[in-house]
């Protein structure tokens, strides 16, 4: 798709998931009691911290592993992650920002036409699968890009891409 096209298709990135490590043990109770927007779930063993500026929800484990979700771009995810690390630093933990990697990117695109799912699935047999009893969309898996694309009959295409370990920002 060239940007100069008249009928431009907007691909909107709706969610970016990233993980990073702080290389130090974190005391979840301290974080829970001294942080502002924090939810502590002791039965799952993690703390949920939500930031406002880049809208991010982070799950923090006591081992120091943190998963950051809700960002709308990879940069934002990194920025949010750094902010989070800085907050933890201020709380008194010796935080080091290491091994940041984007794990999942979710993008949505809307077609101006409807799609016949049954014929679509028939034509792309092993790659696409459609189970109306389970899910209203047909799932199309691209192995080379490690992406899963969900095609809805209304013309909305939703792509979940797992970038895995290769991308380091």
């Amino acid at each position: 798709m060239e940007p100069s096209n008249d009928v431009a298709l907007d691909i909107i990135i709706t969610n970016v998931v990233a993980v990073f490590r702080t290389r130090c043990h974190l005391n979840l109770r301290t974080i829970a009691l001294e942080g502002v927007n924090v939810i502590y779930k002791p039965e799952y063993g993690k703390v949920l911290m939500k930031l406002r500026k880049p809208r991010i929800t982070a799950s923090i484990w006591s081992s120091g592993k943190i998963i950051c979700t809700g960002a709308t771009s990879e940069d934002e995810a990194k920025q949010g992650a750094r902010r989070l690390a800085r907050t933890l630093q201020k709380l008194g933990f010796k935080v080091r920002f290491s091994e940041f990697k984007v794990v999942n990117v979710l993008a949505v695109c809307s077609m101006p036409f409807a799609i016949r799912l049954i014929d679509f699935t028939k034509n792309n047999r092993p790659i696409a699968s459609y189970e109306p009893e389970l899910h209203p969309a047909a799932t199309y898996r691209i192995k080379t890009l490690k992406a899963t694309v969900q095609v809805f009959s209304t013309g909305i295409i939703c792509s979940i891409q797992i970038t895995g370990i290769t991308k380091f920002l």
């Binding site: 800085r86 080091r96 189970e131 809805f152």
Partner: protein, 705 residues
Amino acid sequence: MTSRICKNCGCSEIDLDQARGNAVCTNCGSVLEDNIIVSEVQFVEGSGGISSAVGQFVSADGPVKAPVLGTGFHTSLGKESRAQTLQNGKRQIHNLGSQLQLNQHCLDTAFNFFKMVVSKHLTRGRKMAHVIAACLYLVCRTEGTPHMLLDLSDLLQVNVYILGKTFLLLARELCINSPAIDPCLYIPRFAHMLEFGEKTHEVSMTALRLLQRMKRDWMHTGRRPSGLCGAALLVAARMHEFRRTVKDVIGVVKVCEATLRKRLTEFEDTPTSQLTIDEFMRVDLEQECDPPSFTAGQRKVKMQALEQELAKKLDEVQGEISLYRDEIETELENSRPKLRGIYAAYAKEIDPLDEVLSQASCSSPREVDPEEDEELEAVAQHLNQDFLCQVIQGEQQGDERGGEGVTEEAPPPHPPPRGGPSLASILGPLPSAASLGLSESIHECIAEDKDSDGKSGSGELDLDGIDDNEIERYILNDKEVRVKTALWMKQNEEYLREQKEKEERITKEKEQGTYKEKPKKTSKKREPIRASTAGEAIEKMLEQKKISSKINYDVLRDLNSKGGSGNSSPAQPTSTEEPPSGPPGRKRLTRRKKQPNKTNMGLATTIMGKRLRPLISSATKKKRAASQVTPNLTPAATPVLPNLSSPPSPNPAPPGPTMVESGPVAYDEVAEDEEEEEVEEPCVSALQLLGGNEYGCEAEEEEVF
């Protein structure tokens, strides 16, 4: 005949002697092959003159457990795990399939699928029930039977989506492309369940027509086929004057009321719904409709576009209104007497809007005379408002363009600056972002990559772009911390209480010494005991295992001297000494078992027998030991067993499922009885007692295995 040509002379005349098993060259006489393997069946004469063939049946499926030469016994008929799995699977498939009323052909196909699944190792980590259900559903799909995944999940009481996941995975792995579900398949089944009597066929046909109409109207993509069926059947029933309520249909079709109503409303929206019954049966409308969700989506988009237009128009109208207002005001001002001199300055009312506008526009003149100022300002205000409207629109467009240009690329450039900056800055970057900015942003990204690579290696936190003040706000101060602590404690009281109880329990058990740390799997590796005599070995093992101090070691040593090999049995539980002491140890046990005329013994044997199977023999010996340690020890066999580890209190949680809590009590009785018996008889060595029981023992031995 493996060799055709002699290696020495090249002659091709080779003589095969079956009797001797030789292959000899007739020319030079060199022996080419010796002990030729013969594939003939041999017969052996068995007891009673019956001759039977020598050999074993080997299954073609997988590697067979090598038959033990010599004293090997065929205990469990040599069935290996794979065959058992398949047999088990077959049984379950038949069970489930018969509940679904599938015919034999389908069940066989399902079993074939199952075999494929097992050979691809896809059953690992999955519940057998799920795999079997998925195989059955695969068959249903390929054969086109009217069975839904929901039916299977009903039978198994498992979530549909879990079954669906397994099913999709299997279908993918086995490369089985099942045809898409056609709702028409379900109609006869549901119609039958709705009991239309004689008219069932007619109603089904009507429902089918309706369904086909729905398909053409794009109502069926992305929807559950059962929901569509339900709607079609409901309408068909009404058409043929059957009163079937929504509830009846729901019970049969297994969708919820809301879904059914929605389908009905959607159908209502199509032009077909306007036809009368007769017309519908005769005529088929040509036009097709868009799928309802698509139209809903389009409607939303239209609404949004309308709203935007309205907003724009509002702005314009407002602009006009303010224009008129300004003119009126200016007229009024002009008609009013004006203040001159210093007061003129105070008479000016400074609009806040004015300030913003004057900041925004670089061209608002301030050095004009105060008299003309007001007029000019009014005009300038109006002009600026118009300008602003345009600017806002331009900004929106600029955003879209900016967003567009970013479609394929990875991180977008900095979003165009908003808020109070000057017009020039607003208008400025718009074209650049779209056309030039892209390449810049790409370069930035690449440059960033290189920069941050070094940083991520060191693990240092890059602080630019992080506003410390903002972060300060994220942390509560002391008072807030206290409040929050109290709140949190209150909220999570239950969980905290549970944790405390758990800890208390653990400390109590630790004191008692019965504490078993379940999750920890790493066991201490003990050094193998090296001892010259059995007695020494026993003592060393006892030291290691820290068994009760109530054991009389002297007796033990006496035992050694008398009982001969029987005493190596105590060392049996330690894995190091197992092989040599295995049989004698068991003989000990079985001797206990075989002692006749003791009903209690009978009890003991049954209990023991039960225990033997699930437990390792050492555990059972522990049990007996536990009960026997407490009463006074007498010579003979009793101390042999107690030397095994025996915690003071009986094992709280032995793995034996068949044990009843009253076990220890029973044991005590048995023990006492046995002791008495032991006392009566002079010390008899185990070997003597077991003289004639060789076979029996070994049979027991196998039971243990």
